[in-house]
């Protein structure tokens, strides 16, 4: 079939060009992705550390050591702000570390996939499915590793500290603005819970007594 007789001449050229561009872009993305990964991770870590250090320095400047008597100048709000800032920074570090691990594993998945291109399907949908299948397998294996589980644990404990310090901070606002706090709600709901339990237990006792009377 010569180009003169081919009714799809322009379309074919266009499609071929699209395919080449698509492959070139994918290669560029993955190359850039890999080279930027380390730099990005490093920057994130440095930025987080700088932020944390600044808050630590600030608090140390205000209160030279934790053992010194605490001044009641702002009713402990300064400590709560400091705790929150430290927790937020730690959460940011943990989140970055987790992201970096994911980038690393996506890079590994990419390398593995690239080394097996001989088996690649010519059909683009199938080849993308092959890539996803490969990535799925590698990510699943990685998620079982100690390295990932430790990073995940660090993220979860940092998130816990963040939530707790945030709650402490919000409570200052609530108390100063006559808004009930979660702690107060908890006290109330606990009283209701205990009363309900007691009521239920009394009812059971009464039933048992009634049953024994009937017998």
């Amino acid at each position: 079939m010569s180009s003169d007789t081919n009714p799809f001449e322009d379309t074919l050229a266009f499609m071929e060009q699209m395919r080449e561009q698509y492959q070139a872009t994918l290669t560029q993305i993955s190359t850039g992705f890999e080279s930027n990964m380390a730099l990005w991770g490093d920057t994130q870590n440095k930025f987080s550390k700088l932020w944390l250090d600044n808050f630590e320095n600030l608090s140390l400047a205000l209160f030279q050591t934790e053992s010194m008597p605490k001044l009641d100048a702002v009713m402990g709000l300064d400590f709560k702000i400091k705790d929150f800032a430290v927790a937020a920074t730690n959460l940011s570090i943990a989140a970055s570390e987790l992201q970096i691990l994911f980038m690393k594993i996506w890079g590994q998945a990419h390398d593995t996939f690239n080394s097996n291109t001989a088996d690649l399907s010519p059909n683009s949908k199938e080849s993308i499915n092959q890539w996803l299948e490969n990535a799925n397998l590698i990510v699943l294996q990685f998620q079982q590793s100690d390295e990932y589980l430790e990073a995940k644990k660090k993220y979860a404990t940092s998130l816990t500290a963040f939530q707790s310090t945030y709650k402490e901070l919000i409570e200052v606002y609530q108390e100063n603005n006559h808004i009930p706090t979660q702690r107060e709600f908890d006290d109330l709901s606990n009283s209701v819970y205990r009363l309900k339990k007691e009521l239920r237990s009394l009812r059971k006792e009464m039933q048992t007594l009634r049953s024994s009377d009937d017998e």
Binding site: M1, F8, N123, Q144, S189
Partner: protein, 384 residues
């Protein structure tokens, strides 16, 4: 058209055409399908008991179906997720399959706890709510014992209740229920299995307590995210790369996809104290099989399960590794009649895949205790 230079390009052109056909079909389906048409849990039922936010439902018998000569079956689902999984759609409904056999079916809806329910513990779910539901059904049917099915965390509730009150349960079925939470260690399983078990063992008791207290409950959104993370790549591609395949084409197929989405969206929060039992006492410290798990001050002993026990688990369950369910057998007394059913499905597929769903329903129905001899104890009024 056999020119090797042209064919790959023509193939790609065909792919593009197919792709845009799917885009059109997906948009059309999505726009023309109102949310009101995406219905789940449609089998008719009535509320028969309400305990705080917990509701006991009784399903209406199907017209023209002769009642089976079996005891009523009570179903306890997990606090994580909704019981509607058992009745997602008419042609794949465990509930409907049971009703078609003439089985009387009750189900507990644990409701949607919020922070005011944070004090509810396993003690309350087992010894109050589940216990009251069993009492109600026994009273209503003038029986001393019924059959009980527990699913996942609901299976742990059921196993605990049946251990503490074996006289009230004539037969017990557990589905995708973890019993030995550390049995995944060293078990030969698929790579994806046991992530949650491994992760939770990394934490100390104090760390897990602090985590649950910080949120006030185990947020439904968080448990949803954990499940998504367990199959990360598939979760990511589900809403982009694979979305067109799910939304395009046959309307019934699209409705199946949207029903599952609706179910996934309904993820109740888990009360804080019960979450501590679940994540710390069980997942982390594995107290149930050590004989150290206590409810209302009484130790739960699995060896007290004297009724016939059916243990159903899913071969490809990435949430509850089959090894953690199968471990039940070695904790039962030798006299206990015990059977297993392994389904070729995943944690949710056990209930919704056509084949597994039917096998599950049939085996379960065969396990429901017959209505016969057990004499009725003196009638007792139940606490409401």
């Amino acid at each position: 058209m056999n020119n090797p230079m042209i064919n790959p390009v023509l193939d790609q052109q065909k792919e593009f055409e197919d792709y845009f056909d799917k885009v059109g079909s997906s948009i059309n389906n999505f726009v023309s399908l109102p949310d009101s048409e995406v219905k789940i849990g449609e089998t008719p039922k009535e509320e028969v008991l309400k305990l705080d936010k917990v509701t006991l439902y009784r399903y209406f018998p199907l017209d023209g179906v002769k009642p089976a000569n079996t005891r009523p079956l009570l179903i306890a689902y997990s606090l994580i997720g909704s019981y509607t999984m058992l009745d997602l759609q008419r042609d794949r409904s465990v509930i409907r399959n049971l009703l078609l056999q003439g089985q009387a079916v009750y189900v507990i809806d644990w409701g949607h706890p919020n922070k005011s329910d944070k004090w509810l513990s396993f003690d309350d779910y087992v010894e109050s709510y589940l216990s009251d539901c069993v009492d109600y059904i026994c009273d209503h049917h003038n029986l001393s014992a019924i059959s009980l099915l527990g699913i996942c965390e609901g299976g742990v509730f059921a196993a605990c209740y049946a251990s503490l009150h074996p006289e009230r349960i004539a037969s017990l079925a557990l589905a995708v229920t973890p019993i030995d939470f550390h049995a995944d260690q060293g078990a030969s399983t698929e790579e994806s299995v046991g992530y949650l078990n491994r992760l939770l063992r990394k934490f100390s008791r104090a760390e897990l307590e602090a985590m649950i207290d910080a949120f006030g409950y185990l947020p439904g959104e968080t448990t949803g995210l954990v499940f998504l993370e367990m199959t990360l790549v598939k979760s990511i591609t589900k809403y982009n790369w694979e979305l067109l395949d799910s939304l395009a084409g046959d309307r019934d197929k699209v409705l199946n996809f949207l029903r599952m989405e609706k179910w996934l969206l309904d993820r109740p929060h888990h009360p804080s104290e019960a979450a501590k039992h679940w994540l710390i006492d069980l997942y982390n410290e594995n107290r149930l099989v050590k004989g150290e798990f206590e409810l209302e001050g009484e130790k739960v002993r699995l060896s007290q399960l004297s009724m016939p026990v059916l243990n159903i688990f899913a071969k490809h369950d990435h949430i509850v590794p089959p090894a953690t369910s199968k471990a039940l057998q070695k904790h039962l007394s030798r006299q206990t009649k015990y059977e297993e059913l392994e389904l070729n499905a995943g944690h949710i597929g056990a209930f919704v895949s056509g084949k597994a769903n039917q096998a599950f329903s049939d085996k379960l129905f065969s396990w429901v205790a017959p209505l016969k001899s057990t004499p009725r104890k003196p009638a007792k009024k139940t606490a409401k």
